[in-house]
Symmetry: C2
Subunit: 460 residues, 2 copies
């Protein structure tokens, strides 16, 4: 019986330990060429230069966004993708106004602080609002202060990034309430304006913007972010003189929703043209930057991934679709509309993959799908250099593909990228092409192409 057990054990052990497939040299060679072509030719990087420098800012509803839509369409048409088309999306349309200022006086001298209105802020009067400042580090503190402590004042949310986290994005999560919900909470107790320390890990004075909310039934007050150094300076000033009067001048205007578009390019599948593998990023950016990392990179990662298939003359079995989503930053209308259309048109998506975590160096992929699928794909790590994609982890995807995932159950991946420096440039004027490294960015393109190839060849 001992021998019998051994005989049974051996195959079971092999099967149970790993769901391995034989090493496929053709796959390895294709992937090596994906990386080589991306790094050697830098085509995505050159696209990113054009998008960043020739078009630049492209907030939803702006002229830049409209230009970016046409640019993406023309690029993919120029590459000879099998099908390139626009998908209509109505987007919110807010524009920053002409004045933005924050200052106090010290010994008769005007001390200027660096400020940027949150995306969506209403305007103060032209002369600004001038009032005492009350500094808090949480929404709860505003509740505790109540109307007595807040009415007629400017609320200053000064919660700083915690640098102790390995994943500095955790700090972004912890401080995000200041920008997103700060104006509502302050206005509930009668504040005349609200400001916040930029959600930034840097130690400079570039203020940061991003989406914010108002609430029906609560006054809309102007809301803006201070640069980190300006925040520190203001905290010190208030500590020295709690009666400090601050002036905040912010301007922004809401327009009716505007017509814009998701841009879609396809390489048709040779065996199952109705099965779609989606790769995407978002085309819109904040108005103060070139949106090079956020998310020009994701767009050119996606176009570039399809382009790498073309370069090798690989005919995918399933249809590859690159999607430039519109309006991730302040509405997610593009992602929502895309899911709506996909359901209406009975489209079958095998998987959706998003890159919206910058152009820095890739580390892995997050995955939201079944545990069985997650276990299966671990075996694919053998085709990746460990210094590019070193893991497939549970959870993750992307904001734009989230609606499709939630409404249709389509499994989704998100490209995980080293985030150590991201929150120094995120949503600031520093998010420009020069902050992108060609090799780091191209590793993202090749990683996207490689994952698409593996899914197309072996299924999920």
């Amino acid at each position: 019986m001992k021998n019998l057990i051994k005989l049974i054990l051996i195959p079971i052990l092999i099967v149970s330990c790993e769901t391995t497939t034989p090493y496929d040299q053709e796959t390895a060679d294709v992937i090596t060429r994906f990386y080589g072509d991306a790094l050697g030719e830098r085509e995505s990087y050159n696209l990113l230069r054009d998008l960043s420098k020739d078009i630049g800012q492209r907030l939803s509803g702006s002229e830049g966004a409209a230009k970016a839509v046409l640019w993406s369409k023309e690029i993919m048409e120029g590459y000879g993708f099998d099908s390139v088309f626009l998908q209509e999306v109505m987007v919110p349309h807010w524009e920053r106004g002409t004045y933005e200022e924050c200052f106090y006086y010290e010994g008769g001298k005007k001390i200027n602080l660096s400020i940027l209105g949150a995306g969506g802020t209403v305007s103060t009067p032209f002369e600004g609002v001038t009032a005492e400042v009350v500094e808090v580090k949480s929404l709860e503190e505003v509740d505790v202060l109540g109307r007595e402590g807040v009415e007629g004042k400017i609320v200053f949310y000064s919660k700083a990034f915690n640098q102790r986290y390995i994943n500095i994005g955790t700090s972004y999560g912890e401080t995000g309430f200041q920008r997103r919900l700060g104006a509502i909470k302050a206005a509930e107790y009668g504040a005349v304006a609200s400001i916040f320390r930029s959600l930034s890990s840097s130690n400079d004075d570039y203020p940061h913007t991003g989406s914010m909310s108002y609430k029906e039934g609560v006054d809309s007050i102007a809301h803006g972010g201070l640069g980190v150094l300006s925040s520190i300076k203001l905290s010190e000033k208030i500590k020295a003189d709690p009666k400090t009067k601050l002036t905040v001048r912010l301007s922004g205007k809401w327009f009716p929703d505007a017509l814009s578009h998701n841009v879609i390019g396809e390489i048709k599948g040779s065996e199952n043209p109705d099965n779609i593998i989606l790769v995407g990023g978002h085309l819109d950016s904040w108005d103060v930057s070139e949106g090079a990392h956020d998310d020009g990179a994701g767009c050119v990662h996606s176009i570039g991934a399809l382009r790498l298939f073309q370069k090798q003359g690989i005919k995918p079995k399933n249809t590859l679709r690159a999607v430039m989503f519109m309006n991730e930053e302040n509405g997610l209308r593009g992602g929502t509309q895309y899911a709506e259309n996909a359901i209406k048109n009975n489209e079958k998506h095998i998987v959706a993959i998003e890159s919206d975590a910058s152009a820095y160096i890739p580390r892995g992929f997050g995955f939201s799908g079944s545990d069985e699928q997650l276990e299966k794909i671990q075996d694919w790590l053998k085709y990746f250099d460990k210094n590019t994609i070193s893991y497939f982890s549970k959870g993750g995807g992307g904001a734009d593909i989230g609606p499709l995932h939630r409404r249709t159950g389509t499994p989704m991946f998100g490209l995980s990228i080293d985030g150590q420096k991201y929150f120094e440039i995120h949503h600031t004027a520093k998010d420009v092409f020069e902050a992108v490294h060609p090799r780091e960015m191209e590793l993202g393109t090749a990683s996207m192409a490689s994952l698409v190839y593996l899914i197309d060849k072996y299924g999920l």
Copy 2:
């Protein structure tokens, strides 16, 4: 029997699939604090600022090197390490001279090329050598040209980095012969000087230096590296006019070997004080840079690792030893002497860990030891955030700990760091403190401390 097989199968399967140990929450907490303290307090980064800015260049035998020895000793004494001492090492002593120039004339106009003598070059006459240039891409091409094609000429090695590799260090390996062996090969056929395209992945004009060799019985000729853009310009010029006369002026001087030191600091082991866990980097740098990445980072990673133990009040079981090796760049005398002394003094090293791959973001550890050890330590990955240390791979270590490893069999680790940008600054004037990111660097310090802790606690 079926049931019996099942009973036997279950434990065997568990044991066979992974050599797992129970998750040790204390270990996890300690490691979390290592990372938190490093990122939050940035003490290693501040040390690196002092080493880079107050001392700067520290080529073996220089005043800078001597200052760095004292600095390291004082820092570790200041931290109250249990024992801090110097280990004498005789090092080669070469100094760059006063003139360095490379030019040709075009239409009567002097065209300057950016050049840097290789470390160890002899001088040309003050007025330089002026001769026709012969361009090659390999040592073999020089052999083919022979004396007829080379005598009296300047040999120009112009092999470029291949950008297609994911690990750009591969290109450094492929082009290294130009700097290391180029002068010997050229002189064998009577060349009057030799120059080479810098071993660089960048597209700028900062020339690169590094060690080179001469050979007994072969003339020593001056040998220097051109900036990448200068190399490209010279290639074009030669193509247009093969009779182009180039002038090379280089200067450098050899002095007698100098007395220098490895610097060693220890925290004594509470249980096995005679067992040593070594962490180290090299203190010397090239003369044209601050040696911030190469290898100031490795030094402060190592001191910092011990410091992180101190901060938590952790008493290691084994003795932790931080070693700042001298003379990695042009002789490896420090590493060689260290091994010699270790053998002479019957020291018992459990393991040696080196950081000499820059201050960029860590990716994993390379390991040279037994396969059983490598399998065992895979289990430790569960204590690392996947965006810091994501692998333990076979092979690797460090130049300085190599002699100890080879002569005593001590297992060795090398900290693997993302190398995408390293060969843009390596051995150039761009290797300065400003090129180091605090969070990336501190993740290295904490990774070193964590590995030391795991080895100290669980053994190898």
